[in-house]
């Protein structure tokens, strides 16, 4: 297949970058949520919540903007996926609401039952959000039944199969690992020691899932590897991915948590890059009837809109990066609870 860096490809990459930004940033706060119930003391739970306190809202904006950009650049993908995956998307929305509300309201009242309820909601929602997103990614790899007018013709249960569930679990494991490393960066004392133990456990959990998913993909969906066969230099990406993952326990072992976190972020980014190369130039594969697939060409907006959006992105993205970096800089270091904390 011939590769041109045209507007459609640029937007495929840009939306990929937005979703990668989302996965790296919201990934660690979903991971903190997934681990939340393992922390027992109220004060420690508050530290966990406040480690993501100032940033989780901004992290979620990456998803919102990713959704908006998908709507603008590939309206057919937005329409097909969101209406086709109706039940899953609605469930995702409910979980995003529960999670936001749980974070906001948990520490507002002192009663034990109140806090316990919101803790469960927060943790359960975090896990389910990661799981649903994994299921969605899995379905993009397996392909979904589409008709000639780009409409989804399957049912909700068609989305659930051993492979998509496996990708869902892998996503949860990935975010748990990522979140536990972030937690180590933000905490002190006993909680910090506890989180360090979880880093090791979650790395093992993730690596098992990762290897299984990779094998399953290569065996059952060899199509994902075709560009790597056609253009071997791409294999560097796979190598980078494996090195990034292998580097995490090494950095942890040397007590360099920040570098471990960067390594974990790099493994998320390279995993998504492998995924993107695997599906290109399709965005949504149709299975059966691959001729009905939504590609970066037949599902895209006009060249004029893609150009306008590129200008908007060129103006906006430097600002976005500047805010994001400043916010993380301002709130660097260990969590200290104050009267404005959650």
């Amino acid at each position: 297949m011939e590769f041109n860096l045209d507007l459609n490809t640029i937007w495929f990459i840009l939306i990929g970058l937005l979703l990668t930004g989302y996965a790296i940033l919201d990934g660690f706060d979903l991971g903190i949520g997934a681990l939340h119930l393992l922390v027992k003391k109220d004060i420690d739970r508050r530290v966990m919540l406040n480690s993501i306190g100032p940033v989780w809202d901004g992290n979620e904006v990456w998803l919102v903007t990713g959704g908006g950009a998908l709507f603008a650049a590939f309206p057919d993908v937005y329409a097909t996926v969101f209406s086709g995956f109706y039940n899953a998307i609605i469930m995702l929305l409910f979980m995003l609401i529960f999670r936001a509300v749980a974070i906001e309201f948990r520490s507002k009242r002192p009663m034990k039952w109140w806090r316990q309820t919101w803790d469960v909601a927060f943790s359960f929602a975090s896990i389910l959000i990661a799981f649903i997103m994994g299921i969605a990614l899995g379905n993009i790899i397996t392909g979904i039944p589409l008709d000639s007018s780009k409409e989804y013709i399957g049912t909700f249960w068609d989305m659930i199969n051993p492979y998509t569930v496996l990708v869902g679990i892998t996503t949860v494991a990935l975010f748990m690992m990522h979140g536990s490393i972030y937690g180590v960066l933000k905490t002190e004392g006993e909680l910090n020691q506890k989180l360090k133990g979880w880093v090791n456990n979650s790395i093992i959990f993730f690596v098992i899932c990762y290897v299984t998913t990779t094998m399953a993909t290569l065996i059952y969906f060899p199509n994902m590897a075709r560009h790597f066969k056609d253009f071997p230099p791409l294999f560097a990406l796979a190598l980078l991915n494996m090195l990034a993952i292998a580097n995490i326990p090494r950095e942890i072992h040397h007590g360099r948590e920040f570098r471990a976190f960067l390594s974990s972020a790099a493994s998320i980014a390279s995993l998504l890059a492998l995924f993107a190369v695997g599906i290109f130039p399709n965005i949504v594969l149709s299975n059966p009837n691959p001729e009905f697939s939504l590609t970066i060409y037949n599902a895209a907006s006009s060249q004029k809109t893609l150009t306008i959006m590129l200008i908007i992105a060129a103006i906006g993205v430097p600002f976005v990066l500047a805010y994001t970096i400043s916010i993380y800089w301002i709130f660097r270091g260990k969590v200290k609870l104050t009267n404005m904390s959650y």
Partner: protein, 452 residues
């Protein structure tokens, strides 16, 4: 019920509930910029404490606004997929611009606003407050632009035929500045200012009635009253401009707003009434003769197009639009009356002496909220049966892959979850109000009480 009714109900419920919160955030944002600006100028700690109290209320409204806002961003795709395919090329770019220019700005600086009091200096903190307030208004700009394009599409052409037809952008700025966007944006923003100002007035008046936090309350009311006076008078102007725009660009909507059935000059302006749509008459109504014609053209001979000039399947429901519109206008005048009265008594020096007025202040918080909601009902129901005026019918915009059962399920769940959220919101808001500002009145003003 069929998918269309269910999907419309769901959109109506989710957007109406969402729209309780952004106006409060936008209005409170302006208020916080003023109070924190006064803190920077006077160095009086009192204003800092005052800002801190309203920041907590702001954070609460903002959190629910974001949580319910994500739903809106996804709902076009889930329930209105055919619409999304049709407008994505035009509408999507406004939505994406909102994400890039507004949401990142708001959510990033919100962290500093809420959690950054000890992390950054006062000037940087003020900058963050300013950016959050600006971000919330940018958000309003892009979303009103997108909605206005659905009312008065411009800067596009239709490409393809039948099932594959879609609107594609030809002129970005013509899309942004479509004939209704500026009027509707100003009208919406001043509605938001009113929502914020009257929340402040209401809470502060409650403190005065309870004889608590006196200095905080008086100071809050004074600042908010000025905001309310400016916004309510400006609302009269933008409301007029919007109505003239509707007369020109969406005559069927104007005809429904005033229940005009036959084309006429010297069209009357109803103060109130009840429309019988079958008999095409207004019952129990009182009207000012010729006033509608006069208002939209400054001339009683201005011709108003009646509903009968439109094919039957291109007319919006009349009574609901008529009622929503007239109640909104009535509330608009009430808000002007309350603001003017407040400022007048302030000038006379008796503002805080009348308990009846304080009670009116306490309940006044509901007025802008109701007006904002029914204003949108006027705008959106008045656009029916079109989802994009003149281009696509609401019934044509639905998702083909979604069944009625699925929408039933999500509709019921949204309703239950939102009722729960609302109860929680009121409970926590009440908690914050009962708790009050942190010792604001205990800290001596460094200006008023210089250290001896």
């Amino acid at each position: 019920m069929d998918v269309e009714i269910l999907a419309r109900l769901q959109f109506a419920i989710t957007i109406a509930f969402h729209y309780i919160y952004p106006p409060l955030s936008i209005g409170l944002g302006v208020f916080m910029v003023i109070t924190e600006g006064m803190y920077l100028k006077t160095k009086d700690k009192f204003y800092e404490q005052m800002t801190k109290f309203w920041v907590k209320v702001f954070a609460l409204t903002f959190a629910i606004g974001v949580a319910t806002g994500i739903v809106m961003e996804f709902e076009f795709g889930t329930n209105w997929a055919t619409y999304s395919r049709f407008v994505g090329d035009v509408f999507g770019s406004a939505l994406a611009a909102e994400g890039i220019f507004a949401f990142f700005l708001e959510s990033g600086f919100l962290a500093v606003l809420v959690f950054g009091w000890d992390k950054v200096g006062p000037k940087m903190h003020f900058f963050a407050t300013l950016m959050v307030a600006l971000g919330s208004m940018f958000s309003a700009i892009w979303i009103v632009v997108a909605n206005s394009w659905m009312q008065t599409p411009a800067g596009y052409h239709i490409v393809g035929e039948g099932m594959n037809a879609r609107a594609e952008i030809t002129d970005f700025w013509a899309m942004v500045f479509n004939p209704s966007s500026v009027d509707r944006l100003l009208h919406t923003i001043s509605g938001c200012w009113l929502a914020g100002a009257f929340l402040v007035i209401s809470v502060a008046a409650y403190y005065l009635l309870k004889d608590k936090h006196i200095r905080f309350a008086k100071s809050s009311i004074r600042i908010a009253l000025i905001m309310a006076l400016i916004a309510s008078l400006f609302q009269l102007f933008t409301g007029h401009q919007s109505a003239v725009g509707v007369a020109k660009n969406q005559p069927a909507k104007l005809a429904a707003m005033e229940a005009v059935f036959d084309d006429q000059t010297h069209a009357p302006l109803y103060l109130f009434g009840w429309v019988n749509e079958d008999k095409q008459e207004v019952k129990f109504g009182i009207a000012i003769p010729s006033m509608l014609s006069y208002l939209i053209g400054w001339d009683a001979n201005t011709k108003v197009t009646g509903l009968n000039s439109f094919p039957e399947d291109e007319r919006p429901p009349v009574n609901i639009v008529f009622q929503a519109y007239h109640l909104m206008v009535a509330i608009g005048f009430m808000l002007i009356a309350i603001s003017v009265l407040g400022v007048f008594l302030w000038w006379k020096g008796t503002l805080f002496k009348h308990r009846w007025l304080l009670w009116i202040f306490v309940f006044s918080v509901l007025l802008p909220q109701i007006a904002n909601q029914i204003g949108w009902i006027t705008a959106e129901v008045g656009r029916q049966p079109w989802i994009v005026y003149g281009l696509m019918r609401t019934s044509e915009g639905l998702s083909k892959a979604v069944q009625a059962g699925q929408v039933w399920y999500s509709l019921i769940m949204f309703t239950l979850i939102y009722i729960g959220l609302f109860i929680l919101f009121i409970y926590l808001l009440n908690n914050k109000i009962q708790h009050g500002p942190e010792e604001a009145d205990l800290i001596p003003s460094e200006i008023g009480h210089p250290k001896a």
